[in-house]
């Protein structure tokens, strides 16, 4: 890599991600044992690494956000995406979403909410709080593939805008530091898959759902 470049993901000139992109590590949260089994299968088929937990509290513990362990947490694999059920006893998916977005260490991790109920105010509330997307249960393979592509695309755009010229950034209307600045993004390890940033506007988020 050239001096000054901080991107962690190798993007070949052709822009073909499928060859070089690392696997996403997804944390799936659901209190239903049946749904955990299904979402795990859907994600594995979509070539993701999967960790499943049964509650929002366990999810926070896994991430190391429960106060006991600090930001380093129990996991040795960085989480690139969180998929969570909305209706769970204790911490709901919405509560979990809020806690993630309030955390400086994890707010950049995209969170997708799943629910068996198609309640518009609920969907809006989640999107407003920063959810990447909202999936109606039962979740299908097509849904998972779409989410994965969305996340990968966001990651790729992050890396491209870091390493390419200002002209491109201006064209996309994205506010990122210039490649020459050395203080850009502090990633913790070389292997890390850079987490998605909220580059899209709210209206773009909503229109991608329609």
């Amino acid at each position: 890599m050239a001096v000054g470049e901080v991107m962690r993901m190798e993007i070949p000139a052709s822009g073909d991600l499928s060859v070089t992109s690392p696997e996403l590590h997804v944390l799936a949260v659901d209190d239903s044992i049946v749904d955990r089994k299904v979402i795990e299968r859907l994600l594995r088929i979509s070539a993701c690494k999967v960790t499943t937990v049964e509650s929002g509290t366990r999810a926070l513990q896994y991430l190391g956000l429960d106060g006991d362990k600090g930001a380093s947490g129990l996991n040795d694999l960085k989480v690139n995406l969180i998929v969570t059920d909305y209706s769970m006893p204790g911490l709901t998916g919405y509560d979990l979403l809020k806690k993630i977005k309030e955390s400086s260490a994890f707010r950049e991790i995209p969170v997708v909410i799943m629910s068996s109920e198609n309640i518009l105010p609920r969907i809006e509330q989640c999107l407003k709080e920063g959810a990447e997307d909202f999936l109606l249960k039962p979740v299908k393979l097509a849904d998972v593939k779409r989410i994965k592509e969305l996340i990968m695309r966001n990651e790729a755009e992050d890396c491209k805008t870091i390493s390419h010229s200002n002209k491109r950034k201006l064209a996309e209307g994205i506010d990122t530091p210039s490649p020459s600045s050395s203080s850009s993004h502090d990633y913790s390890s070389v292997k890390d898959f850079p987490s998605s940033k909220r580059m899209k506007s709210e209206s773009e988020n909503l229109s991608s759902l329609l």
Partner: protein, 134 residues
């Protein structure tokens, strides 16, 4: 045996026991994971037996805590939906309506029907999975 498998499956769909979600799950099977649907079904019946037990106990106590009953049924409906258990799902929906209406008699009646549908589905799926293996 393939023909018998196909017939069992067809009747399960024709009679409305299963819906397309079951087929979606079958699509997720491959050579490396040939028993995925049966594994999901096993988890489902184990989990739903627990829920049925909880609901039975709650109803036997005579105190109709509709909120708690509705909460159990929400879980039951959720997992039934995930496996494509169409008739069971319908009974769950009805039960929840009776809960919201505070109709104890309706709950009892519906729950009886739900248990029947659940038992029938269990038996038929057992036949189906057994036939698939021969």
């Amino acid at each position: 045996m393939q023909r018998q498998v196909a017939l069992i499956k067809q009747s399960l769909f024709d009679q409305g026991y299963l819906d397309e979600q079951f087929m979606e799950l079958e699509e997720l099977q491959d050579d490396a994971n040939p028993n995925f649907v049966e594994e999901v079904a096993t988890l489902y019946f184990k989990d739903s037996a627990r829920l049925i037990n909880n609901i039975d106990q709650a109803l036997e106590r005579g105190s109709f805590d509709f909120n708690r009953l509705d909460s159990y049924m929400h879980q039951f409906k959720g997992s039934s939906t995930s496996i494509g258990a169409s008739k069971v799902k319908t009974e769950c929906t009805m039960f929840r309506e009776y809960c919201r209406a505070g109709n104890a008699e309706g709950c009892l009646r519906t729950f009886k029907q739900l248990k029947k549908e659940h038992a029938t589905l269990r038996k038929k799926l057992e036949q189906y999975f057994q036939a698939s293996k021969r």
